[in-house]
């Protein structure tokens, strides 16, 4: 952790730059919704990738995860494992059979 005034001032500058990048990414997030990337899935993927970039910037720079103690990384590793598990749970639902008598194609 930077504790000397010089280092802190240097970090201060970085925070402002990251803030500006996040602002830019927000414009980008909205902007890409006007672009057709070929399919809905592709559109969503692009949107989520930008969001992920923003989230990483916040976590690494603002939350200082770019230089943390190993214990915190261990905690976050477990968190990520279970979080990722929840995010792929829906795949199971894709195999659920659904029946609609007189089904109307969308």
């Amino acid at each position: 952790m930077a504790d000397s005034p010089e280092e802190l001032q240097k970090h201060l500058k970085l925070y402002w730059i990251i803030g500006a990048v996040l602002f830019g990414c927000t414009f980008l997030t909205v902007g890409v919704t006007y672009i057709n990337f070929g399919s809905k899935a592709a559109d969503i993927t692009v949107g989520l990738l930008i969001a992920l970039t923003k989230a990483l910037l916040v976590a690494l720079i603002f939350m200082h995860l770019n230089h943390e103690k190993s214990l915190i990384y261990t905690v976050l590793l477990y968190t990520f494992f279970f979080f990722a598990g929840m995010m792929v749970l829906f795949i199971l639902a894709l195999f659920d059979p659904v029946f609609f008598p007189g089904f109307n194609e969308k």
Binding site: L12, W16, T26, V30, T33, M63, F82, L89, N104
Partner: protein, 558 residues
């Protein structure tokens, strides 16, 4: 008790305690929001299975969401700058940036409240043929005029209808003839009438029962031994006395209840008579009142005469209230169990008898802003077009208005056109010509690519607010309608859950950071301790920002 390791790192973890604490807490928060995001994905994928439900992509206004994203990002920068100021031992700099953080949280919640308000005043209506329209400013009131009587049940105490008679409860409701009562206002000379429950008659009846029982006693006393021998049951005068005592007690209870009720009614009458007298005195004192004003004043008061009727078997009382001067009232549709042309049944089962306003059979929408026919079997025959009150409809971003608003066969606001059968109005004809043209183009382009035409995409129409298109739809044509609250559909259920929970986090974070703003004493005592506290609060605040970074595109853009 001194809490250890608030500034210095613990030798085993290498971290001061609050730091490891906040990260464990944030890990649990990740799981909480992760579960909800997972639920969102399930709901969204599940919606694809229902042919009549389309995930309402893009139904949220992007601008407020985008502004809130900027606000949260800015606050995230400010909080980390405030922390640096503390590390630099610059108290005034710290308070400046932290104040901005708190102001950002207020701005965020303000914008969020604006959004929520917009949702709660926005209505979605699905017709029985699955046509879907949305709009603002609905009038779902049921107007009943010429009300001469109301059925009440004293046991249930169902006086709910009164608040719709009372003037202060219906500021937003209007009807041609208004009853301003401020509660029930009986007439000056009113005397409660109890035709079926006269106290003297009841007492007389009690005496008759007593004498009849005495006769039975006498008879049974004479033949008691014979009856006992035949039936094998021993009868005693004690049993008969108990029976008589029971009857007496029941009758006495009825007397008491009736006396009590009469007392209540008389008290009510006295109070309201006094109120009426005061109102009239005040009116008389106002010398400038014209004859017409006086007439209006008189019309504002209705004499309600309560008449009791008793259920002889159960001994329960019901109250029928008769009005000497017929009055009107207006009730929101969702406060009623049932509405017919001659009576309204309230949720509490009180029944108002009168004449229903012809307009009350329609749900009126002042401004339509969306028309969605994707789930309709034959969109060109959608029932919606019988009830749209047209001025202009702008479809697919192109103006189809022309002179349609002046055309013959225009559907009148109020649903009059509903009786004209299925004939389309001029604008709707133009609209469908446009649809035909577009659909032919889509079909042609799809054929060129060797694909099936996706005509369903052409069936979602945006109607611009400035065109002032409204509709009056008969309730019997409506499958379901509600505002854009969680009950509207699964999207709004998860939208309110996610954003509501996130909003609570914003409030909680703002409270904690505001508390740190007033921690001057700790700063003077141990500035590093306060810096660590702010770092922990800041970590939470960044997490709140991080959640929003995903919520914004997922809910508003995708």
């Amino acid at each position: 008790m001194e809490i250890p390791y608030t500034v210095k790192a613990r030798p085993d973890t290498g971290l001061w305690n609050a730091k490891i604490g906040i990260w464990l807490f944030l890990a649990s928060e990740v799981m909480l929001f992760g579960g909800l995001f997972s639920g969102y994905v399930f709901l969204r994928l599940g919606s694809g299975a229902d042919p009549n439900y389309f995930w309402p992509t893009g139904s949220l206004e992007v601008l407020p969401g985008m502004i809130n994203t900027f606000v949260l990002i800015a606050s995230s920068v400010f909080v980390v700058v405030a922390w640096v100021q503390l590390k630099l031992r610059n108290w005034s700099g710290y308070t400046f940036w932290m104040t901005l953080v708190v102001l950002c949280s207020l701005a965020f919640m303000g914008i969020k409240s604006y959004e929520y308000y917009g949702k709660f005043t926005h209505y979605g209506i699905r017709l029985k043929d699955n046509s879907y329209i949305a709009g603002h400013h609905i009038d779902n009131s049921q107007k009943m005029a010429e009300i001469k009587s109301v059925d009440l049940d004293l046991i249930k105490g169902n006086l709910g209808f009164l608040k719709y008679v009372s003037s202060e409860e219906k500021d937003n409701l209007t009807f041609s003839y208004e009853v301003k009562l401020g509660g029930l206002v009986p007439g000056e000379e009113m005397v409660p009438s109890t035709p079926n429950g006269d106290l003297n008659e009841t007492i007389k009846a009690s005496d008759e029962v007593n004498s009849a029982l005495a006769e039975v006693n006498q008879l049974l006393g004479k033949t008691g031994a014979a009856v006992e021998a035949q039936s094998g049951v021993r009868l005693s005068m004690g049993v008969l006395k108990d029976l008589k005592k029971g009857v007496d007690e029941s009758l006495r209870e009825v007397h008491d209840a009736r006396m009590e009720m009469n007392e209540e009614v008389n008290k009510l009458i006295r109070e309201h008579n006094a109120a009426l007298a005061a109102a009239k005195k005040q009116a008389a004192n106002a010398r400038q009142k014209t004859e017409e004003d006086q007439k209006i004043l008189d019309e504002k008061f209705v004499t309600l005469v309560p008449v009791f009727s008793w259920n002889k078997t159960l001994g329960l009382g019901t109250l029928k209230v008769f009005a000497d001067n017929p009055f009107s009232l207006e009730v929101p549709h969702n406060r009623l169990r049932n509405a017919t042309d001659s009576k309204l049944t309230f949720a509490d089962f009180s029944v108002v008898h009168g004449t229903r306003d012809a307009n009350s059979v329609y749900l009126h929408v002042e401004h339509l802003d969306k028309l969605d026919l994707r789930s309709v079997a034959k969109p060109e025959d959608s029932a919606v077009f019988n009830y749209i009150a047209e001025k202009a409809i702008n479809v697919w971003g192109e103006d189809t208005h022309g002179d349609a608003g002046n055309g013959e066969g225009k559907t009148e606001y109020g649903g009059a056109g509903a009786d004209d059968g299925k004939a389309k109005t001029k604008t709707t004809e133009e609209l469908w010509k446009k649809f035909d043209k577009n659909s032919r183009e889509v079909t042609k382009k799809a054929a060129e690519k060797g694909k099936e035409p996706d005509l369903k995409k052409k069936l979602t129409m945006k109607i611009y607010k400035e065109d002032h298109v409204g509709a009056s739809i008969p309730y019997e044509e409506i499958k379901i309608y509600s505002n854009y609250a969680p009950k509207q559909n699964t999207f709004y259920a998860i939208y309110f859950l996610l954003t509501g929970l996130h909003g609570l986090h914003v409030v909680a974070g703002a409270i904690v950071l505001t508390y740190f703003l007033f921690s001057r004493r700790l700063y003077e005592k141990d500035p590093e301790h306060l810096a660590n506290r702010v770092e922990v609060g800041g970590l939470f605040w960044h997490f709140v920002d991080l959640v929003w970074i995903f919520l914004f595109p997922v809910l508003y853009l995708m």
